[in-house]
């Protein structure tokens, strides 16, 4: 006879590998970088990518030396350009975070530790390609040439905010750069991006769509809709799961029961690759491969971008409550900025001095942009977009009931 205790069931609830006070270690990291062959993107089938989905594509080793078939062979100028954008994003983020702390903007989300993701991947695309980002890919806008002043005006919600103070900071929209409006519900963009890509197919245009989703949001239905529709309709889309280990306080162990994101693309029939998300060269190369594949009509690629969210989820988050404070220092992928910098130094195209000069240049660029932006107001002091913008662009034309409510608000 079972005692009442014995009859109790239990639920196996996962846990994060390390919690505050514990020693973080990635010694048992299962992802071993290998010297993988590059399949032909135009003829490759999902079965041909099993090794790539189970392994890790990495070009830069721990000493900053590039090797292997996936080395994209970028010029020194292109590498320096990529480094400059990453440094720009990091310094920009620092400035915005300081502004948030002083109340000049309501909220902020840094890309710290993940700067290479959007920057390398966007650089690997063509300018006509569509970008469907989350809040952790603002760096793509620098690649597409967006004016920093305009980005700050959005973040501080002033009267020059191109989206008129309608969304929280970091929810950029930049049509000119084909950077589609960021939405807060995580994951929705993933399945929408397949639709954007299929419209390009329908019109017969040489356009590819790239999108990202977090490890956490990959548990949403939209992730699975996206993979299935992309596979069924052979969409020219690049589907990236940015596995940065943490969805606010929820470890990636809660997003999948198999401890792996890349291989989840295989049963959908999508070639799938895991790439070192802190390796600028590997990211560039894998994305270029996927772009070539999509543009050739061969279909979608599913990519796990393996990285670590060095910063907090957002300005409202305190990671010390749920993970060891120094966990990011143990991350085997290191820091993406440092790795590219060391590579450039190794090949004789960069130096500590030139890096310091770059940081000083960007720092003054950001300060200048900040000074320019706050001339149009900030969240603490205004002026804000005029209140009647609440009622515009809800529909193409303002319907009578919104006009009535507008008049009521304006005291008319």
């Amino acid at each position: 006879m079972m005692s009442s205790d014995d009859s109790k069931g239990s639920i196996r609830v996962p846990d994060a590998p390390f919690r505050p006070g514990e020693e973080a270690s990635f010694d048992s990291w299962p992802w071993k970088p290998g010297d993988f062959a590059m399949p032909d993107p135009k003829t490759c089938e999902f079965k041909d990518t099993t090794e790539l989905a189970n392994g890790l594509v990495r070009v830069l080793d721990d000493d900053g030396v590039a090797s292997g078939e996936w080395d994209p062979g970028l010029s020194a100028e292109e590498l320096q350009n990529g480094l400059e954008h990453m440094v720009r994003l990091r310094i920009f983020d620092d400035r915005m975070m300081k502004m948030q702390r002083t109340g000049l903007l309501s909220f902020y989300m840094r890309s710290l530790g993940e700067e290479a993701v959007a920057i390398a991947q966007t650089m690997a695309l063509q300018e006509q390609d569509w970008i469907f980002p989350t809040y952790r890919q603002p760096g793509a806008q620098f690649v597409r040439g967006r004016d920093m002043v305009s980005m700050i005006c959005h973040c501080i919600g002033n009267e020059e905010d191109n989206i008129k103070g309608r969304q929280m900071p970091v929810h950029y929209s930049y049509r000119e750069g084909r950077f589609i409006s960021v939405s807060s519900p995580v994951g929705t963009q993933f399945s929408q991006a397949v639709g954007v890509a299929l419209a390009s197919s329908y019109k017969g245009l040489d356009e590819v769509t790239i999108t990202w989703i977090g490890d956490g949001a990959s548990a949403e239905g939209d992730y699975h809709y996206a993979l299935n529709f992309a596979s069924v309709f052979n969409a020219p889309v690049i589907l990236n799961v940015v596995n940065n280990q943490w969805a606010i306080s929820t470890h990636a162990n809660f997003a999948t029961g198999i401890g792996d994101f890349a291989s989840r693309g295989l049963p959908y029939g999508l070639p799938s690759i895991r790439v070192d998300g802190n390796d600028f060269l590997a990211l560039y190369s894998v994305t270029k491969w996927a772009r070539e594949r999509a543009a050739s009509g061969a279909g979608a690629t599913h990519i796990e971008v393996l990285t670590y969210r060095t910063g907090a989820h957002s300005s409202s988050d305190d990671p010390s409550r749920y993970r060891p404070g120094d966990e990011h220092t143990k991350w085997p992928g290191g820091d993406p900025v440092v790795r590219l910098k060391e590579h450039l130094i190794n090949i004789g195209e960069w130096s500590e001095e030139s890096h310091t000069e770059l940081e000083e240049k960007i720092d003054s660029e950001v300060v200048e942009a900040y000074k320019e932006a706050v001339k149009f107001g900030d969240l603490a002091n205004g002026p804000y977009p005029s209140a009647d913008t609440i009622f515009t662009e809800v529909y193409e034309e303002v319907p009578w009931h919104l006009q009535e409510q507008h008049d009521e608000m304006m005291g008319g």
Binding site: T188, Q192, G195, A199, Y225, W400
Partner: protein, 323 residues
Amino acid sequence: MTNMNMIQSLNSALDIMLDRDPDVIIFGEDVGYFGGVFRTTDGLQEKHGDHRVFDTPLSEGGIAATAFGMGLNGLRPIVEIQFADYIFPAYDQIVNEMAKIRHRSGGEFWSPVTLRTPAGGGIRGGHHHSQSPESQFTHTPGLKVVYCSTPYNAKGLLISSVESNDPVIFFEPKRCYRGPFYGDPHKVPTYRIPLGQARMALEGSECTVISWGAMVHVCEQAIKDSGFSCDLIDLQTLVPWDKETVVGSIEKTGRCVIVHEAPKTSGFGAEMSASIQERCFYHLESPIVRVTGWDTPFPHTTEWDYMPGPTRIAAAIAQTQED
């Protein structure tokens, strides 16, 4: 040549839009090769090609998201959700995405999706093939909500919906798909009924009856049975609704009955009732009466006891005439 039924007139509207606009594309569950479980897209794939009219996985969320993305990139998708009861996996995509994109992007992006869906009871469909969830969309700014009732308005409203640059949720009363027959769309190849315009189905002086969808026909019978002279307003578009027609009628009759088959609590009748008393209080001679489905799941065998019928509606009209 006989009159078209609603299925044929909807099919004609879709055919016209496919002919007229190369950016129009139609997809959904069973709509392609087979032509739809209700036959609404019958023959369209054969005529226009499977790149323009095609089947999808059984995935309402994926259908809505894909349509949304296509709309962002210049297409004008018309998608079918096979039953309105199955729209809820797509709810987030409709409410948080389609409805918000124009506003949230400062007008930089928009997505002109028309989402057609058969709704309402009367076909012995039980609670998952009979619901009428219009009020779950009328509460979302950024959406236009249309509910057709006859073959004639189905065609004109659908053409206007597809041409709209705003997302439209287009409800089709499946009970009316194959009758009754009003108007003659066949003799008029192309026409539009503007969104936001109601139809005065009957004119009278003693009471205003407001309804939409299949209930319009039930109201017509109820008005005859009641012996009172009534305006019967078929709202056609719920958002934005036709203020001039409604207010003008109430000011004339001073009495009002609102009829819908969806449940009463927070139904769109509540919005109409509140709006009418705000605008027409001093013209009202008696309390506004709502006749609706009950606040219960939609039943199977007892659906005629659930939905408003002529007896309940006629009694409500009579009630408004009491001093």
